[in-house]
């Protein structure tokens, strides 16, 4: 069982590495989106390994089903060119800036994680969906209601903002 879990973890980590590099460096934005979707599905697999199946299904439902479609609409509506929006080579300065932005938090946090590993339990805690529902309607009722208000305001605001500008033209 232990070997199986490690193999699955390595497999998902490999998909995450390849997918995220594709999502960041690919010239065509549609290919970058494919890489992002691969990363999201691999993270859903990691949630399954962490014994959180409900979160894994929500990950697939919200990210793979919702947000990736939104980003795809954004790519279509911004009139992306077929040979890639990022096709010309980027300057050395911006690449250096990006490398610094990647390495500064990465190295510092990696040193902290490796030097001071937090106390952990060997196996993941088992929490049923029943407990999640009870938590959502019990102690965490206020965030649950607030997130619905935030979602409503964001959707209504997005429709209003986009619609008024289209109408003025």
């Amino acid at each position: 069982m232990e070997i199986l879990a490690k193999t699955a973890f390595a497999f998902y980590a490999l998909i995450i590495c390849i997918g995220s590099i594709m999502a960041v460096t690919s010239k065509s934005l549609v290919r970058a989106l494919i890489g992002l979707i691969a990363v999201m599905i691999a993270i859903a697999g990691m949630y399954l390994l962490l014994a959180a199946p409900f979160i894994a299904f929500m990950q697939i439902l919200i990210y793979v089903g919702g947000i990736s479609v939104l980003i795809f609409f954004a790519i279509m509506l911004t009139k992306a060119s077929s040979d890639g929006d990022e096709s010309w080579p980027s300057s050395l300065r911006s690449t250096l800036n990006a490398l610094v932005a990647m390495l500064a938090p990465g190295v510092i946090l990696a040193v902290v994680i490796l030097k001071h590993p937090p106390a952990s339990i060997p196996g993941p805690a088992e929490v049923g969906v029943v407990n999640l529902g009870k938590g959502m309607l019990g102690p965490y009722l206020l965030p649950f209601e607030l997130i619905s208000v935030i979602l409503f305001v964001a959707m209504a605001g997005a429709v209003l903002v986009a619609w008024r500008k289209w109408g003025n033209k």
Binding site: I67, A101, I113, V127, L132, I147, L151
Partner: protein, 102 residues
């Protein structure tokens, strides 16, 4: 190396490569894709910390659920803003959007 450290290293990898993309990309939609990578890494870190430490697991899982809801709201608003910017400037390259008047 404990399992929690491995999960946190994966989340850290997502964070740093998301930072790289956010600075390196030139189109607005490419930046949004990098941002989503970072948010995914944050969710993974929260769930790993909730499941593999003695902390309250229900709180961690619900926290990730709320992060997903916030990410959906944020993606909707970013889509609307990108649409307006493209309509106004006829480009989604971040370099060329430098005009500022009301």
């Amino acid at each position: 190396m404990s399992a929690l450290t491995l999960y946190q290293l994966v989340a850290l990898f997502l964070l740093s490569i998301g930072f790289f993309g956010l600075v390196w990309r030139r189109t607005l939609v490419g930046m949004v894709i990098s941002l989503e990578l970072m948010i995914n890494g944050a969710g993974l870190a929260i769930v790993a910390a909730a499941q593999l430490t003695p902390a309250n697991a229900v709180m961690g899982q619900l926290g990730t659920l709320f992060v997903m809801g916030l990410a959906a709201a944020e993606a909707t608003l970013i889509l609307a803003i990108v649409l307006i910017v493209v309509k106004r400037f006829n480009t989604s390259q971040a370099e060329e959007i430098s005009e500022m008047n009301g």
